[in-house]
Symmetry: C2
Subunit: 290 residues, 2 copies
């Protein structure tokens, strides 16, 4: 399979490393990125076959093209190189965290056989140097067939996901955007707001040296790539705002429960809080949860 | 040093294991817990010397008593066994996450030489079986001398912290409660509210199998002991509510920035979000931060 990876950071690089490590004979990989640093390093590592001189050059002769740049850049690339891909009859996929916007952009290019993709794996590190062949192993890889996609196009994306060790899961863009807004984009904005709340005060100098693993975990997703964070939040803005509204309501009910405690709390008066924490733990730790 | 540990779960057990592993000859340790399971297991492990039949029995003949039960239980124990400790001229310490309430309760017992303590370390697991000799190594251990404490009392608590491998850091209860509310109690309630927001909807069944490490990290602190969570939130309620108010304001400004984006966001229109994420990352990852 002739694969082109357009944009080549952590995710694009991990796809190349995974295919090279797990399924080398089957794939011929061309990669392009703006800086060309990642593709050059991957060529030296034997993870790809060709460094392309341009995005348009990368897609020539490819059967499957995967957009793996930042979310906003991927969106722009659909318009920019989508017509050539449609004309060649190739399959366009991507690895974007917000899929409604990608589906709309792809549907605006006549004949473009687009199958969206979103591997549910990631780490805070950036760039090809952080790429890992095992990043996708055992993880869901969401596959979103566009209206012009043929069964062969879906099969190509399924094969890519499986070859990376992931598990293809089909969803439509609306369902995808609602679910990932809940478990990924909402936590991102909440973590960023939490960090701003504390680091923006004179308490931070005293608090930072005391912070332990709990603080680090709670803020970890806000330590990632700012371009990625901004692109995700912007492209999935409507769904994210719905979840943020719901979150604010829940938060207000915590404030009300706390404000309703007696001046000297004891075990009976704090039972309402204990029950909430208990239910949270049960919901998070139920069968099949992580 | 004759040490009594009253309440014996993860933290009390880790103190015993740390002293047994690092400084065994110096400490004679008596432990008590309501179930007695932890102390009996620790005796069998050689981590303590005596299983006490009661809280009052544990403190008899001790030079240093550490309350290591749940926050609300520790508060009750100050009133319950504080007078006997004061009469014996021994030092009372504790490992409670909210120190203002502990200091007020201790000040109400005439002559009680109380030095509050709060090791800034923890994991989500519970009980003596999860206790680790290295839990406190390299971590701050906040030391809070009460008004009736003598230099010898402070020295005993400093010695305990150092013997566990921690770094004693002196603070007053007001400063302590404000700082830990920011980096520990606020993240706890935010994580619980985040989990409730998502797990309480019909999206959860579809979202849970897609959740990756980011979701797990963002909700990790809400997976701990519900008694501990409720006790912390209740005892430090006023400081926590101040931080929750500030957090709500910051969150509202994220919602405003998102709502202000154009219908089709591009790089220039999302610069405000990118800058926020960039600043968050810089603040979190600055020198000496974690």
């Amino acid at each position: 399979m002739r694969l082109a990876i357009v944009g080549f950071g952590l995710i694009g690089g991990s796809i190349a490393r995974a295919l090279a490590a797990r399924d080398a004979g089957r794939w011929h990989i061309t990669a392009w990125s703006r800086s060309a640093d990642g593709p050059r390093a991957a060529l030296a590592d034997g993870a790809i076959d060709v460094v392309a001189p341009s995005a348009a050059g990368a897609v020539a002769e490819a059967e499957l093209i995967v957009l793996a740049a930042s979310p906003l850049a991927n969106l722009g690339l659909v318009t920019e190189i989508g017509p050539a891909i449609a004309a060649a009859g190739a399959t366009l996929s991507d690895v974007t965290s917000a899929q409604g916007a990608m589906a709309r952009a792809a549907a605006a290019v006549p004949g473009l056989r687009h199958v969206g993709g979103h591997p549910m794996a990631g780490i805070e590190a950036r760039g090809y140097e952080a790429a890992r062949a095992d990043l996708f192993v055992g993880r869901p890889w969401i596959v979103l067939p566009g209206s012009a996609a043929l069964p062969d196009d879906v099969a190509r994306v399924d094969e890519l996901a499986s070859a990376c060790g992931a598990r293809p899961v089909e969803l439509d863009p609306d369902a995808h955007d609602r679910l990932v807004a809940a478990i990924s984009h909402l936590p991102l904005v909440v973590a960023a707001a939490l960090a701003e709340t504390v680091t923006g005060t004179d308490a931070w100098d005293g608090a930072a040296p005391l912070a332990s693993g709990g603080w680090r975990d709670a803020t970890r997703v806000a330590r990632g790539d700012p371009d990625l964070g901004a692109g995700i939040a912007a492209l999935n803005r409507d769904r994210l705002l719905e979840w943020l509204d719901r979150f604010s309501t829940v938060l207000d009910s915590w404030r009300a429960d706390l404000a309703g405690l007696p001046p000297t709390p004891d075990a009976p008066s704090t039972e309402v809080l204990r029950t909430r924490f208990e239910r949270v733990r049960s919901a998070l730790e139920g069968p099949g949860r992580r």
